[in-house]
């Protein structure tokens, strides 16, 4: 049981990393979008492995089924050959390089210190199977207020989008 589990884990994480790298390096934007989708699905696989089924489903529906569809729609509607011809520049490589170094240092530190201070709690054999109910209870009892605020924020954003689009139609 444990052997198969780790095999799956390494497969998913390798898939995620590989498609992330591929995504960044693709020239064709549609290929990039597809590789982004594979990364998200790989992380969803890892959630499933941890038997956090609700998170798996939210990842799939929200990210891949919702946001990425929007991405692909926009890619299709904006005719790409015009934007392709715009001159590509990368003058900010200096800023990007600095940020990359900082991030790399943090990761290395975490790895180095990892096996001592940042030890993750031992993986429990089985998180309570009914984690959907657990998430629901937490969401609607303890965190009721933030939940409401977040939903109103989303509502405002939606109405804003509709108003902006209305004028052009």
């Amino acid at each position: 049981m444990y052997v198969l589990n780790s095999i799956l884990f390494y497969f998913f994480s390798a898939l995620a990393i590989a498609s992330a790298i591929l995504m960044v390096t693709r020239r064709n934007i549609v290929h990039a979008a597809v590789f982004l989708i594979t990364t998200l699905l790989a992380t969803a696989g890892i959630f499933l492995q941890l038997q956090a089924e609700f998170l798996f489903i939210v990842q799939v529906i929200l990210y891949v089924g919702g946001i990425m569809v929007l991405f692909v729609f926009v890619i299709m509607l904006v005719n790409l050959d015009v934007s392709m011809r715009l001159v590509q520049f990368n003058r900010q490589w200096f800023v990007a390089g600095a940020l990359a170094l900082v991030l790399g240092a943090q990761v290395l530190f975490a790895l180095w210190a990892g096996h001592t201070s940042l030890r993750l709690p031992a993986m429990q054999v089985d998180i309570s199977p009914k984690n959907t109910e657990a998430v629901a209870d937490a969401l609607f009892s303890k965190y009721m207020l933030p939940f409401e605020i977040a939903s109103i924020l989303l509502l405002v954003a939606m109405i804003g989008a509709v108003v902006m689009a209305k004028r052009r139609v």
């Binding site: 198969l4 089924e53 489903i57 569809v69 692909v72 299709m76 959907t132």
Partner: protein, 440 residues
């Protein structure tokens, strides 16, 4: 038999077997649904339908499959090769993946996820990628227009279908498919009767979601030739075709499980027995039905014009006899086996009944125009679904707080929803013309 397989992968064996069975059976099933569609269409149009290949056209699906395999596989000249190859694969894998949570029998289920229904909805919503990428990759104006149209249609009708299911989940109380069916058994009534509007909304939503019947805009032959499938041919096209019919069966499966009581026998709580035996009356029905079909095939066999068709018809008759024997034998077997086989029979019967409704709509209704389709989705179906969810919520509150009976609480809310539906339908009748004042 348990000790033969290494301990590590034992829990995975049964699901894998089920998965293999389903993936093998599905293309065959899709083929025979196509035959059923053509025969029902012919019957409704006062003609015979395919009669030449095999007796009464029974071997037509095999002929179609072979033809599609042999057809030349053309890739448009400057199409995006990777996407062109990937798109049909995506839509087929998503269609097959969604079968994993579908409970055909009490045990015959690949994985009983406790988020079963949500899982199927999520996976079938990924089917949009197959269509959109296919339209984009074939690099032709018509298919891109068709792809965008069908994507917009899928997105808007998924919300409606989803909300239709939500209203039932309030009653069922759990996302797992097995629990939903169990809830219907415990409450002694199928959810189609307790939440009729949920069923109606889901029916309309599912038709639109699989691009069928009055909503088959993307492949509207008369305008955009064949929508996103225009440039595909040969085996690639048959993948799309398989995905469409697999989606239809999934949607029918969900409806059966959620609304029509999955593998439950129609009169689940009716327990009168045959005198002296433990067989209940309704249980005998499946074997009698298959027996009847067997005799019918037997009577047809001699009338077939060609010798080979006589043989095939005889084979079909024998197959039906074996089936009815199995169903009859199952009655005396231990309850686990009996429930499995009969459950599968009832499940398939309901799925085919639901599909028959699909086909029926297809041959009676003309096609909606795209803007009418969108207006119906957003301005009629989704508001109605929301009202329906609220109605069922109110009904549950009535039942728990005020202690009204299950029936008494649901009737007023359903009537209220009906009122809202009529009011909604009245003011935005699709006849609202788009015809603006004259151009000049």
């Amino acid at each position: 038999m348990g000790h033969l397989i290494p301990q590590a992968i034992l829990p995975y064996v049964l699901p894998v077997v089920y998965a293999v069975v389903i993936v093998m059976v599905l293309p065959l099933l899709a083929g025979y649904i196509v035959l059923m569609e053509r025969k029902v269409m012919a019957d409704m149009q006062a003609r015979l339908g395919p009669m030449r290949v095999g007796p009464h056209g029974l071997l037509q699906p095999i002929a179609d499959a072979v033809k599609l395999l042999l057809k030349e596989d053309i890739i448009p000249e400057n199409a995006d090769r990777l996407m062109f190859w990937l798109a049909p694969l995506v839509s087929v894998t998503m269609a097959l993946l969604a079968y994993s949570a579908l409970p055909i029998g009490p045990e015959f289920q690949i994985a009983d996820l406790n988020i079963g229904l949500l899982f199927i909805l999520a996976i079938s919503s990924l089917g949009i990628y197959g269509i959109v990428l296919g339209g984009w990759a074939s690099n032709s104006h018509y298919s891109l227009l068709g792809a965008l149209r069908s994507a917009a249609q899928l997105v808007s009708y998924e919300t409606a279908a989803g909300l239709g299911l939500v209203s039932v989940l309030l009653l069922a109380g759990s996302l797992s498919m097995k629990d939903i069916v169990q809830a219907q058994l415990d409450q002694g009534v199928w959810f189609i009767f307790s939440v009729p509007f949920g069923f109606f909304i889901y029916l309309v939503g599912s038709i639109a979601e699989t691009n069928r019947a009055p909503f088959d805009l993307p492949e509207a032959e008369s305008e955009l030739v064949a929508g996103y499938m225009t440039e595909y041919s040969g085996f690639r096209w048959s993948l799309y075709f398989l995905a469409e019919y697999a989606n239809m069966v999934i949607v029918a499966g969900i409806a059966t499980t959620v609304f029509l009581g999955g593998w439950l026998r129609p009169l689940a709580s009716f327990h009168e027995h045959f005198p002296g035996t433990s067989i209940e009356w309704p249980d005998a029905f499946p074997s009698l039905l298959t027996l009847g079909v067997a005799f019918y095939c037997l009577s047809l066999a001699p009338k077939q014009p060609v010798k080979i068709q006589k043989i095939v018809m005889l084979a079909v008759a024998i197959l039906c006899f074996i089936l009815s024997g199995a169903l009859l034998g199952a009655l005396f077997a231990p309850t686990g086996v009996m429930q499995g086989i009969h459950g599968a029979f009832w499940f398939m019967a309901k799925v085919f009944a639901y599909l028959y409704a699909f086909l029926w709509f297809r041959f009676t209704f003309p096609r909606y125009r795209f803007d009418q389709l969108m207006r119906l989705g957003w301005r009629f179906l989704i508001p109605l679904a929301l009202v329906n969810v609220i109605g069922v919520g109110v009904a549950i509150v009535l039942r728990q707080q005020l202690g009204w009976g299950p029936v008494a609480s649901l009737i007023p809310t359903t009537l209220a929803t009906l009122g809202v539906a009529i009011w909604l339908a009245k003011d935005d009748a699709p006849a609202a013309t788009v015809q603006t004042a004259d151009g000049e």
